[in-house]
């Protein structure tokens, strides 16, 4: 592909002080690092067979006898090693940054496997020498990765190249189409990597983490090369095309290797939380109102749907058609949203967060006590029938012509459509007069009021619309899982949703979806770490707020607000606060 690169006008800055002495040897370091990575990948990785059975990718082989037949994490390491050697020999713009990305990828892959081997094998003997066998693969690969990172950092810092290449519409469409199909395959591969975590498949978590590390390294390298920015710019030029194609690509997931009942269920659950997270994003990300009891609205939607489903434990003995149920659930949840939002008229900031937390706790306590018979208390409401259309239950498998869709695929299709609709609503709201009013309130409420925004109704609307979306998702949730219990709507779920929004990036659509996917896929994958799940989750929250408060996909406004060192003058609100404190 021919690309014209815009030269950076300023001379490239010299490498930073501490690394200056190694700068002349950067290429040598990288070649050495790449070679060590290659060698490490082919060395044995464990000195004995673990109790649970041989580690994936034949990690206990004496030496790898068929270098061309490597698979799994070894293949990733081999590829990364070759890429590092090639990059250090060929002059490519910003190769220092690309190499850093690759190096961190190698380190992540190696660490994921090494830590697991050490933990399961019971000590460092697993990866060094024990029982008369030696296995230095992990250590060699780790050193290799570190050398690549070091060499990459020691190079002269170059700005990320800007690709200005354009072509006619059809070529760009074709490029986008290929990109999105690759994206689909990548998503399917990430989702299924390591397989379903069960007693028979104990290594799924480690394999998944290792795969995630490889994908992260690859994406970091691509981002550094400017390719991803370019793709983003192209897709921005063909917005409508991208949206339509992405929707179809998302709907095609059941046709990939993820098309089994299990993965469809996982994907549908992610969809529920993604839709809910987008709703929460309106309240927290756009309007800046911290809601700590948001999952209650999902619960209200679910309980309304459960009671209207004709289940035996339902309070009403009627079965309302599903589309109507969704509307009713959304309306009821929205009404409660307005109630919960009404204190915003008088309460601000973290006091508001506490009010919402109190509402959330009231909901949990009341539904635990089976208030009015609507929630089933600790018995829950079981036996909610699945959604059906044209005499076909949504949890049945479906055969259209020669294409066989797995069980649960219809639910997946439905939730994709729901998430797409919610995204559409969010995107339009964000750029509407109302959305701008929310953002203005988030930045500075008093200034917003002075500009003529009626802050009271606007804030209540934020709560109402957010709650409506959650109620909508709740109705789906009730029919999908078949049982609705107050246990699913506890405080921790609210925190998880909030964490999803923050991790992804407040105020952005991809952020909420990405955050929800990460936070709800990880527990599914890391079953053997289930005990540590919440602990890691709490630590992750602390680390995110410390090191990347703007999230993985930052919103441009938000970035300026949350990064005090970025040189942007503080907003008047924070200045006033600093003066008041």
């Amino acid at each position: 592909m021919t690309t014209t690169l815009e030269k950076a006008p300023a001379p490239t800055p010299e490498p930073r002080g501490r690394l200056a002495p190694v700068a002349p040897y950067a290429s040598a370091l990288q070649i050495a690092g790449g070679a060590l990575t290659l060698i490490g990948a082919l060395l044995p990785w464990a000195t004995f067979v673990l109790n649970e059975g041989p580690y994936p990718e034949k990690a206990t082989l004496e030496f790898f006898t068929a270098p061309l037949a490597v698979t799994g994490f070894r293949l990733h390491l081999v590829l990364f090693g070759i890429a590092a050697i090639v990059l250090s020999l060929v002059t490519v713009p910003a190769r220092g940054r690309m190499l850093q990305g690759l190096g961190w990828g190698v380190v992540a892959v190696t660490l994921a496997n090494t830590l697991y081997l050490v933990a399961e094998g019971g000590g460092l003997g697993t990866i060094t020498a024990a029982d008369g066998a030696v296995a230095f693969g992990p250590i060699v690969a780790l050193v290799g990765g570190a050398l690549i990172v070091l060499g990459g950092s020691a190079r002269r810092r170059e700005d990320k190249p800007v690709w200005a290449w354009r072509s006619n519409r059809y070529v760009e469409w074709a490029i986008l189409l290929v990109t999105y199909v690759l994206l689909l395959l990548l998503v399917a591969a990430v989702l299924t990597s390591g397989g379903q975590g069960t007693a028979a498949n104990v290594y799924s978590g480690a394999v998944f983490l290792s795969f995630l590390g490889a994908v992260g390294g690859l994406l970091a390298a691509l981002q550094a090369s400017g390719l991803l920015t370019w793709i983003a710019a192209v897709s921005e030029r063909h917005r409508l095309f991208s949206v339509v194609v992405l929707l179809f690509v998302a709907l095609a997931l059941p046709l990939t290797q993820a098309g089994t009942e299990y993965w469809m269920t996982v994907a549908a659950n992610i969809g529920v939380y993604a839709a809910t997270a987008i709703g929460l994003n309106i309240v927290v990300g756009l309007a800046g109102l911290l809601d700590l009891g948001y999952v209650a609205f999902l619960g209200i939607g679910a309980f309304v749907a459960a009671n209207l489903s004709g289940a035996a434990a339902a309070q009403f003995d009627i079965e309302v058609p599903f589309p109507l149920v969704m509307v009713i659930s959304a309306v009821v949840a929205g009404t409660f949203g307005a109630v919960v939002g009404s204190p915003t008229l008088r309460v601000r900031g973290d006091y508001l967060a506490i009010v919402t937390l109190a509402f959330g706790e009231i909901f949990v306590r009341s539904s635990q006590n089976n208030i009015g018979g609507f929630t089933g208390g600790s018995n829950a409401i079981p036996g909610i029938p699945p959604v059906s259309a044209f005499g076909n239950d949504f949890n049945d498998e479906l055969i259209i012509g020669s294409v066989e869709l797995p069980r649960g695929a219809l639910y997946y299709v439905l939730i994709v459509l729901i998430v797409a609709a919610v995204m559409l609503v969010f995107g339009n709201l964000k750029n509407s007069r109302l959305g701008r009013a929310w953002i203005a309130i988030r930045e500075d409420e008093d200034a917003a009021r002075a500009m003529g925004i009626r802050t009271g109704p606007v804030k209540i609307l934020a709560f109402m619309i957010g709650a409506t979306i959650a109620g909508f998702a709740g109705a789906f949730f009730a029919h999908k899982t078949g049982t609705v219990s107050y246990e699913s709507f506890k405080f921790l779920e609210s925190v998880t949703l909030l964490a999803a929004v923050i991790l992804g990036g407040m105020g952005t659509i991809p952020g909420a979806v990405l955050g929800a996917s990460i936070l709800f896929v990880l527990p599914e994958k890391l079953r053997e770490f289930a005990d540590y799940r919440l602990l890691l989750f709490g630590i992750a929250l602390i680390l995110i707020m410390r090191f990347r408060p703007q999230g993985l996909v930052p919103d441009s406004h938000r970035r300026a607000e949350l990064a005090p060192d970025s040189g942007v003058p503080p907003t008047p609100g924070t200045a006033a606060k600093a003066a008041a404190s």
Partner: protein
């Protein structure tokens, strides 16, 4: 009739003074750095576990059997563990975010809370279920005669009331009379001007966390001694109650925290007895009160009336 009412009042006062003790930590930290330290409830919980660990693993049997030997040591251990954890938390979680926007430290506090609770659950042996707490004070009850019957007051309950009031008075006189207390008040009014006057705000903030954690650790031990068992949920639950108490009394006010704590205790005890729904809904009444106070009188009983809360 009367004995029931009075014994519920007694129960409320016992719970309330404990809540007040925890609320002091909330109110002081909020007064100084305007942070709702969500994790303060977990500091209370960790104090209880610290005491339990000391009793189980360190104390020789003859000390275990004499409550007057064991109780002071347990109180020291509880306060020590709480202070240690609070110091680590302040240094590594809150201090880097000192000048960050308002939401960031609050979310961090949520993370700290989850991490501490789970850390205890995962790493303390047997903490997945409720653990029995040693009986480190005189057991039994004092039956106070009243017309129509008697009102039972557990000796441990009496201990809670006495210790809480003594500590609250001590804290009050420390903040009002000592040099460091004056520095704390100055910092809470205006950190920048306090710095100009030669006060090191970081030291004051650390001291605030230390004082709050000490009280929380003591409260944790007293709670365990009174109830006879502890589990990892006690932190979140009582933390929310204590926060409610701090707000109810007027955040930043020491008198307010105690008064708020006593009110919360009474609401829970009397609401569980007399309001519809009974004890199943006593939590709900506390949250209703919390919302009502925040909406209609956010400055609480003793709070300053004009306070900019952005």
């Amino acid at each position: 009739m009367l004995p029931t009412l009075l014994s519920q009042i007694v129960n409320g006062l016992v719970l309330g003074s404990l809540i007040g003790l925890i609320a002091l930590g909330y109110t002081m930290v909020y007064g100084i750095i305007q942070l709702i330290n969500f994790a303060h409830g977990e500091i209370f919980m960790i104090g209880a576990y610290g005491g339990l660990a000391m009793f189980t693993y360190l104390l020789p049997t003859f000390v275990q059997q004499q409550w007057y030997l064991a109780l002071p040591l347990l109180l020291l251990a509880g306060a020590g563990v709480s202070v240690g954890v609070a110091l680590i938390m302040e240094r590594f979680a809150y201090r880097p975010l000192r000048n960050a926007p308002r939401l960031a430290p609050l979310i961090t506090a949520l993370g700290v809370s989850v991490a501490l609770q789970e850390g205890v659950r995962v790493f303390y042996p047997g903490a997945t279920a409720a653990l029995p707490f040693p009986k480190v004070f005189v057991q039994g009850t004092w039956a106070i005669p009243v017309p129509g019957g008697t009102v039972p007051l557990r000796w441990t309950g009496l201990l809670i009331i006495v210790v809480s009031l003594v500590l609250a008075f001590a804290l009050n006189s420390f903040v009002n009379n000592s040099r460091m207390g004056r520095a704390m008040r100055a910092t809470s009014q205006d950190r920048d001007v306090a710095r100009l006057m030669g006060i090191d705000p970081d030291r004051v903030i650390v001291l605030t966390f230390v004082l709050g954690a000490t009280l929380a650790g003591v409260a944790g031990i007293l709670y365990g001694a009174d109830l006879g068992f502890i589990n990892i949920d006690i932190g979140f639950q009582n933390g929310i109650f204590a926060f409610t108490a701090a707000v109810l009394g007027g955040i930043g006010s020491i008198k307010g925290a105690v008064a708020g704590g006593l009110s919360i205790g009474l609401i829970k005890a009397l609401g569980g007895q007399y309001l519809p729904g009974g004890t199943a809904y006593d939590y709900v009444w506390i949250f209703v009160v919390l919302i009502a106070v925040l909406v209609f009188r956010p400055q609480g009983f003793f709070g300053e009336t004009e306070r900019v809360r952005a």
